[in-house]
Amino acid sequence: MTLPAFAALLERLVFTPGRNAKLALLRHWFATQPDPDRGIALAALTGELSLSVAKPALVRDLVAARTDPVLLALSHDYVGDFAETVSLIWPGPVRSRSAAGAERESAGQPVRSRSAAGAERESAGRYHGVNAPPPGLAEVVEAMEATPKAELPSLIAGWLDTLDANGRFALIKLVTGGLRVGVSARLAKTALAEWAGQDVAAIEEAWHGLEPPYLPLFAWLEGRAPRPDARDAPVFRPLMLAHPLEEPDLPAITPATHRAEWKWDGIRVQLAATAGGRKLWSRGAEDISPSFPEILGAMDFRAVLDGELLVMRDGVVAPFADLQQRLNRKLVTARMMAQHPVGVRLYDILFDGEEDLRALPFDARRARLEAWFARVAPARMDLSPLVGFDSVEDLARIRAGARDAAIEGLMVKRADSPYQAGRTKGLWWKWKRAPLSVDAVLMYAQRGHGKRSSFYSDYTFGLWRPDGAGGRELVPIGKAYSGYTDAELLWLDRWIRNNTTSRFGPVREVEKALVLEVEFDAAQRSPRHKSGVALRFPRIARLRRDKPAEEADELPTLERMIVGEAAA
């Protein structure tokens, strides 16, 4: 019964907004499910399950052969998602007659004979394999691998016949490769760690030599076997993280004790190339290798490196919006690689060959990194330069003067800091550029999730622009759900409820009367946004209850903040 159990888990994960609740669901799963299915589910959730997938057209043909085309079209139109439509409309077992019969008896009425009803039931729901149990996850994976293509339709149809709607949905998503659950690899590993009482870093390192269903991993976590040895595998090494640099921390920063680098506006990556293979890891331990084949291709060395993935054209870093075109793509076309070429700006080295450098102080690692780079000269990579400074005041001036769109601010690192997993205070600092801000008008509000589900906590705001008819209109420029205090959230929630003009599900449109001071790190051109501008990390800095909406900023004010354009 493991596919239905897996379907039930998926169902809850999909609807559960809270991280703690997701962790509880996963812990329960690991504790109650047998091998190998719990491991296969783990792989499916974290996107590591490689399954030869069926084409969506196969499922389309199967359902078309079993349903009335008009009803299928009406249903698809109503439900929206095709896999969900199929899972719901698939002719299932007919319910037993006993329920209806019992009902009539309890009402004190004789059960009348209904030949038409009998005929209806006959025709409505003949299905195959009534007595066949639903498949297990392992069975599905194995059979998908072993079954010749021509036999796939009947195999999948047979499974669908044994499942209920949730089970069918899970199966269709599984076999067509469309499973998206909102569970990161990191979250799944954290759940494993909590369940087994292990350190998540230990799980991380043990993980990657292993293939689904991870039997040695579970054996170790249940104390039945030693920890799997991942010596040669290109595993993820937990990253060293930085704290925001605040006013009180400044006096400790000196040129003798600290080093500075630019903080690049890309995504943090770890490049792991070992005897066991090559991987590109995201900050959250997701394997993003498939999205960036050109980086993998350039990793013709043995080392583990820390750096920033950026879209670079002739050494010039493109805005973050360009990099977004490349994120979360399973299929990468040559055109995409040509239009948005990526590179890595390196700033640390964890392993040189087999040699673990993480215990060395920063300066020593930096020297090793520079030597390594000079020796290997890898394609598509460069070094993030050190930024020299005379004093912390000098560094503050450098930070304020940085106008490059690709620079978010500075990183300040202790010269003697080892490469230490996690966020140890006082070793690495991030010192972001002073934020930009505009006064925008609140337009829409949406309820939050989890603990915030009774609060209107997500705010869409806009700026004025000419409406083409001599007047002005508001155009949305972004959305923010942080920055405010608890007291401000309460006030905003009440204001929104009292000033709603229309409602769309969880979203309310409000009177265009409240001005919000919105802070953000950068403004960038974006053809995907109605305003043509996208904000980086927007947050609510202040409620400007004193300011009439008419006096909020106009769109050109924001456009002048776009770095790299004429006005800059």
């Binding site: 809850r12 999909v14 609807f15 559960t16 907004p17 809270g18 609740a21 509880a24 669901l25 009335d68 008009v70 009803l71 009406l74 249903s75 109503y78 439900v79 929206g80 998602d81 969900e84 439509t85 719901l88 007919v94 329920a99 009902e103 009539r104 309890s106 009402a107 009348r112 209904r114 038409a116 005929a119 209806e120 409505a124 729901g125 209920d164 709607a165 973050f320 977004q324 829409y444 309820r447 603990k451 589900s453 009774s454 997500d458 869409t460 806009g462 949305p476 972004g478 959305k479 759900y481 929630d493 769309f504 599900g505 969880p506 979203v507 953000f520 946004h529 109605k530 904000l535 990390f537």
Partner: protein
């Protein structure tokens, strides 16, 4: 034998029986009304004479107030008949909510059955649907798409109890309709062995009391306490709390301990519906017939013609045509409003700020 079309008509006030001079579930005040059940879209205020089951009349008095539940009331028990202007009217159970009835109308040997809303599943709080053969069957079509096939309600109640075991530190808040769904869910939970007090929002109290007075036991129900200090929370961890749907979005909910927001509705079958409402645990419990049951019922009553009052009449009429039954959409507006929210498309505000 006169064809029902010649004596049952659709008027602006709803379905009208001409020889009997009465409307069934009229949409606006009329001199004489026959009411199938107490939901507000069927039982509207300020009619002249109202005929319904004693339970429905009691529900109408409770919901509309004594003065607005009809100037005169005639109670007719299930299975009993009355004569209105040469027309025989009999009420048969519809299985929808307590007191719900189909109206069996006979005139000169021709028989029309107006089902009101109905379901075919067992419901511990009301009498089960009774199919009556007829010449014209007037049906609802709330869930008339083949994607709606409700799972057993007992299994859904079990899912709620399973979640309570998994999250003992969180209150479980279930959004329900005040009439019918609320009491049926309570009864299902009692059958499943949940004998702890169930906490109910103030908006559900009156009808739960009435069910009790009408002989439907619901076990111990308690009001949801107010927090000790203003803005306080953390109440009722590990308990079941029922509230009218929508309460999860109001400040009232902040008193509850990290609530798991649940909703008991047939609409929860469709993920987007549950997602849009921010429901964490969708429970597919419906008081309406699902697709298979609508078709099975239309076949059981052996009517050559089926009229569809409201809902997805397009799909149902199409399916009936394939079975040799003439379907006709009545397009009655104003029905399905109490327990059938229209799909609310969200606007597309600017995408979220790009996070790290």
């Amino acid at each position: 034998m006169p064809h029902p079309e010649s004596w049952m008509r659709v008027t602006p006030a709803g379905l009208y029986c001409e020889p009997g001079d009465f409307h069934v579930d009229p949409l606006r005040p009329v001199p004489r009304a026959v009411i199938t059940h107490g939901h507000s879209d069927h039982a509207r205020p300020d009619h002249g004479a109202v005929l319904a089951t004693p339970e429905t009349l009691a529900i109408m008095r409770a919901r509309l107030g004594e003065g607005r539940a009809g100037r005169s009331q005639q109670a007719l028990r299930l299975g009993q008949a009355a004569t209105l202007g040469g027309v025989t009217v009999r009420l048969e159970p519809a299985g929808h909510v307590l007191g719900s009835a189909q109206v069996v109308i006979e005139w000169r040997g021709s028989r029309v059955v107006v089902s009101g809303d109905y379901k075919r599943r067992r419901d511990p709080t009301c009498a089960g649907f009774e199919p009556v053969p007829c010449d014209v069957f007037v049906t609802e079509a709330t869930f008339a798409l083949p994607v709606f096939r409700h799972p057993p309600a007992e299994a859904e109640a079990a899912r709620l109890l399973e979640s309570l075991r998994l999250f003992p530190d969180r209150a479980h808040l279930v959004g329900v309709y005040a009439l019918g769904k609320c009491q049926r869910l309570i009864a299902l939970l009692r059958e499943a062995g949940w004998d702890r007090p169930i906490h109910i929002h103030g908006g559900l109290q009156r009808l739960c009391d009435l069910y009790g007075e009408l002989g439907v036991p619901l076990g111990e129900l308690r009001p949801v306490p107010a927090p000790e200090k203003r803005g306080g929370g953390g109440l009722l961890a590990g308990e079941i709390v029922l509230a009218p749907s929508g309460a999860e979005a109001t400040p009232w909910v902040r008193r509850l301990a990290d609530p798991v927001v649940c909703a008991a509705s047939g609409w929860m079958r469709v993920r987007q519906r549950a997602k849009a409402k921010g429901v964490e645990l969708p429970l597919i419990v419906s008081d309406h017939a699902d697709w298979d049951e609508l078709l099975a019922t239309c076949a059981e009553v052996e009517a050559p013609e089926v009229w569809v009052t409201h809902g997805r009449d397009d799909a149902l009429v199409h399916a009936l045509a394939g079975r040799g039954v003439r379907g006709r959409a009545l397009h009655l507006v104003g029905l399905g409003e109490e327990d059938e929210e229209p799909a609310a498309p969200a606007p597309a505000p600017a995408p979220a700020g790009e996070g790290a």
